[in-house]
């Protein structure tokens, strides 16, 4: 990427750890409701990470009530993201976990990947 594109890049949010596809995360995002601002939590599995400076984003998938899948894409460098917590990392063999969309229940489980804890 040309240096001049890098020059306008927003700083990385310090409250976002290194993320990987397959991570179970909780994203705390500030939303405006009427004239009040509050923090909303979105819990799910990261099924996609996209790099690219200011355009970098990640998609989190969760199963809402009645087994309906809900996916939400967050901009990695958005100041609206308060923090991201990683609960669990999974051993995955591809970068985009789109196959999870077609799986339900037991089949949609991911094998946990143990990482050395710091």
């Amino acid at each position: 990427m040309p240096d001049l594109l890098k020059a306008v890049e927003a700083p990385l949010n310090q409250n976002i750890p290194e993320l990987h596809a397959g991570d179970s995360v909780s994203v705390h995002v500030r939303i405006v409701e009427g004239n009040k601002e509050r923090v909303q939590e979105f819990k799910g599995t990261i099924i996609r990470l996209r790099k690219g400076g200011n355009d970098a984003n990640f998609t989190v998938r969760r199963l809402a009530s009645h087994g309906i899948g809900v996916e939400r894409t967050f901009l990695l460098r958005s100041p609206r993201i308060e923090k991201v917590e990683v609960f669990r990392s999974a051993k995955v063999r591809r970068a985009q976990l789109y196959y999870l969309r077609d799986l339900r229940g037991k089949a949609a489980r991911l094998k946990e990947k143990r990482r050395p804890t710091a």
Binding site: M1, P2, L4, L5, A7, V8, E9, A10, R30, V32, G53, N54, D55, L75, R77, S78, P79, R80
Partner: protein
């Protein structure tokens, strides 16, 4: 006269504090030099000629070299004329991206990406013909191009297949969303004609 010559850097997006995202094209604009001021007295109209990008003097024709040397200017690759009164500008002045301010509305002129020889669907937004019901090999053909014995010829300007792109295109009335005088960087909202690295002209939108 408010204008600059620049090079398209590429596109990205700017994220505001409230989370709104603006698509932006970055242009490395300047430093530009005023190479000539045209006056009503001498040339019959008012304009300013700007130059951009220093170059090895050997790569310039002797005429251009002399033209630039007359005002002690460095050898410049690109010269463009901007219509309008010079106001305080005089030959030899150095302009940076700071001539524009955030919120200004500008026109950006460039040469669009070449598309080669293209059919009527891509070039003129024609519709395609049916893929089935007996149509075997002409789904993308333009269909009828005229009438019958009267007029017995095609009207001039009939839209047909041909070369597309590589032409002068102006993105009109787009907003300046970023100015960095130090890095000579101008960011405009949305897209701008041309490939990365292409020379573009930014000027204040008229009207």
């Amino acid at each position: 006269m408010k204008g600059l010559i620049g090079k398209k850097v590429g596109m990205t997006q700017l994220i505001a504090e409230d989370g709104t995202v603006t698509p932006v094209t970055l242009i490395e604009a300047g430093p530009c030099f005023v190479t000539q001021v045209r006056t009503v007295a001498k040339e019959g109209y008012e304009a300013v000629q700007l130059g951009f990008e220093e170059v090895n003097p050997k790569r310039l024709p002797a005429g251009e070299r002399g033209h630039l040397a007359a005002h002690n200017l460095p050898p410049l690759r690109h010269l463009r004329e901007f219509r309008g009164a010079a106001e305080a500008l005089k030959a030899g002045d150095r302009l940076t991206a700071a001539v524009f301010a955030i919120g200004d509305h500008v026109d950006v002129i460039g040469i669009s990406k070449g598309k080669g020889f293209q059919g009527t669907i891509k070039r003129h937004n024609f519709n395609r013909q049916p893929k089935s019901h007996g149509a075997s090999d002409r789904t993308r053909s333009p269909g009828s191009s005229g009438q019958t014995t009267t007029p017995g010829r095609l009207y001039k300007g009939k839209r047909m297949a041909g070369h597309m792109g590589s032409e002068r295109v102006t993105s009109q009335n787009i907003r300046v969303v970023l100015v960095d005088g130090e890095r000579n960087l101008v960011g405009v909202r949305g897209s701008v004609p041309g490939a990365k690295g292409a020379v573009v002209v930014i000027q204040a939108h008229r009207g």
